[in-house]
């Protein structure tokens, strides 16, 4: 089992120069690159002057990869994910989704956004829609006919493990089930990429373990590219092909680690010395940078 040993210099991400466009090498590989960030940076204007939320970041997320952004609070990991999701505009730098620029002439590009499915910390289901209608909301926005939406909802609810709850209101479901529905909603229009912002952060530890297993299974069955944000080291190492550790003030990439455990991983992998070795190293590094 190939577990990369951890050194703070072990940065396996290509460092692009801070150009507005991607260097040719990255462009050539764009078929295999789901998300490419070059010099993406964020400043916030506040009453106390500008705040540097995120120093220029270069990341290339491979197609089909499960990448986890890990970091302490205030490291800009959510800001980074929201920029990739098109919810916030970067102050500078370029974001490409499957080789297409996310922003062009100051406008978010619908084609690029259509490749992205977002899941938030809160399920954010609409309380006035049934679970079925919540899941197929993106299809309703695309004017898909009702029978097609019904069929899609049935399949997705099977996939995420909440079949039979089609006609329920969101408030009738537990937190974990609502989050499953939110994942189903993000999958409904079949985007290639899932962006998850601390999706299980509000759940209890047991539900969280179950959801991590479920996410791994869904990822295996759908073959999506997944970029997940968390502040849980265990969750990061358990889920990730690569863990990207961010350091705060301003947010920047500190370390990138390959995690090579065989798939599908069971919860028992967490008890292995190799797993613990990565966790301990990450924890040490986190206390250094936090």
């Amino acid at each position: 089992m190939a577990v990369a040993c951890l050194k703070s210099t072990d940065i396996s991400v290509a460092r692009f120069s801070e150009h507005q466009t991607l260097p040719p090498a990255a462009r050539e590989a764009s078929t295999a690159t789901a998300i490419a960030l070059a010099g993406v940076e964020k400043w916030y204007e506040t009453n106390d002057g500008p705040v540097h939320a995120l120093a220029p970041v270069d990341i290339a997320v491979r197609s089909g990869e499960m990448m986890v952004l890990l970091g302490p609070s205030g490291c800009g990991k959510t800001t980074l994910l929201r920029m990739i999701g098109g919810l916030i505009r970067p102050s500078s730098g370029a974001i490409e989704i499957a080789g297409r620029p996310l922003w062009q002439n100051g406008a978010r590009q619908g084609e690029a956004v259509a490749d992205l499915g977002m899941v938030f910390q809160d399920a954010n289901l609409f309380p006035w829609l049934t679970i079925e209608d919540n899941i197929t909301l993106p299809l309703a926005l695309r004017k898909a006919p009702r029978p097609a939406r019904r069929a899609k909802a049935r399949d997705l609810m099977q996939l995420v493990g909440i079949a039979g709850f089609e006609k329920r209101w969101p408030r009738e479901l537990s937190g974990g089930m609502r989050q499953r529905a939110a994942i189903a909603r993000a999958l409904s229009y079949d985007p290639d990429i899932l962006l998850l912002d601390e999706p299980f952060g509000a759940l209890d530890a047991m539900t969280r373990d179950a959801m991590n297993l479920e996410l791994q299974r869904i990822w295996g069955e759908t073959g999506k590219t997944i970029l997940l944000v968390t502040h849980s080291i265990n969750e990061a190492v358990f889920l990730a092909d690569r863990v990207v550790l961010l350091s705060p003030r301003p947010g920047r990439i500190d370390t990138v680690i390959d995690v090579g455990f065989a798939r599908p991983r069971s919860l028992e992998v967490q008890a292995t010395p190799e797993f613990q070795q990565i966790v301990v190293a990450l924890r040490r590094r986190l206390t250094e940078i936090a």
Partner: protein, 273 residues
């Protein structure tokens, strides 16, 4: 791996406390009528000042038997409903605009506050002067009175849309219209209906106050006519008729609430940790 999650049951529970008003309310009403009756008997008060409950009851039955009285009621219902409808359309329309467009709210807010503070019934004579003694002036009074609670509640509703819900629509690249139709409108609906509950009662008040001042039709007119004829029992009967009308309108909106927002119950919307 089995599911750890289980659905929360949402069975409605009827405990004794929720049944209590169904017993106490009729009892209290009966007690009040009995006290009224006892006072009229004991004090030998003039029937011009305070008629007995029986006299009011028979005057009310006369009212129900009189086709002319039904025409008066129909006039008042018409004025209230049409006035309320105008207040609703303009209130929701303007409310959505004000709630969404910050500069519009900043510009209009001083005027809205100013008009809120002015007792709007003060404008009734002016409307009579402008629009005559007919139905039109009463419809306008109704509309003006119903408009404000609907407007302010709509603004509040549109501004209370959940940020997370907005994120969902943004991440789906939804158009402005889609955001309005699929998010802002349903999310504001509980607020709008609360405004409507206040608005419908105010619309009825507007119609009646308008009728007091002029014209020859409507329950307000009938009430003044009874007063001028010293038919105090008839006056009470018209008041009862107005009260019943108010209840019907109010519960009509309550029914609308159940039909339009079944998802929004007092038990709903809270989140589990």
């Amino acid at each position: 791996m089995t599911l750890v999650d289980t659905a929360r049951p949402t069975a409605k529970r009827f405990d004794r406390r929720s049944l209590l008003p169904w017993i106490t309310t009729p009892l209290l009403v009966a007690l009040l009528i009995w006290l009224w009756q006892a006072y009229v008997r004991g004090s030998h008060i003039s029937a011009f000042i305070l008629p007995s409950p029986e006299a009011v009851w028979s005057a009310w039955l006369d009212l129900l038997a009189s086709p002319r009285a039904w025409e008066h009621a129909a006039t008042t219902v018409y004025e209230t409903v049409i006035g309320f409808a105008w207040g609703l359309v303009i209130g929701v329309g303007l409310g959505v605009l004000i709630g969404r467009i910050a500069w519009l709210e900043k510009t209009l807010n001083p005027f809205i506050v100013a008009i809120q503070v002015v007792p709007k019934v003060a404008f009734v004579p002016l409307f009579v002067v402008w629009f005559g003694f007919g139905v039109t002036s009463k419809v306008i009074v109704s509309a003006v009175l119903a408009f404000f609670p609907i407007l302010t509640n709509t603004v509040l509703g549109v501004k209370s849309v959940d940020i997370g819900h907005r994120d969902v629509m943004t991440s789906l690249n939804a158009s402005r219209f889609a955001v309005f139709r699929r998010l802002e409108l349903p999310s504001s609906l509980p607020y709008i209906i609360t405004g409507m509950e206040v608005g419908i009662v105010l619309a009825l008040i507007g119609a009646i106050v308008g009728e007091y001042l002029g014209g020859n039709s409507g329950l307000g007119y009938l009430l003044i006519a009874r007063m001028n004829a010293f038919e105090t029992d008839g006056l009470f009967a018209v008041m009862l008729q107005m009260t019943i009308l108010g209840f019907i309108f109010y519960f009509g909106i309550g029914l609308l609430r159940r039909l339009l927002i079944p998802w929004h119950s007092s038990a709903g919307l809270e989140r589990e940790p």
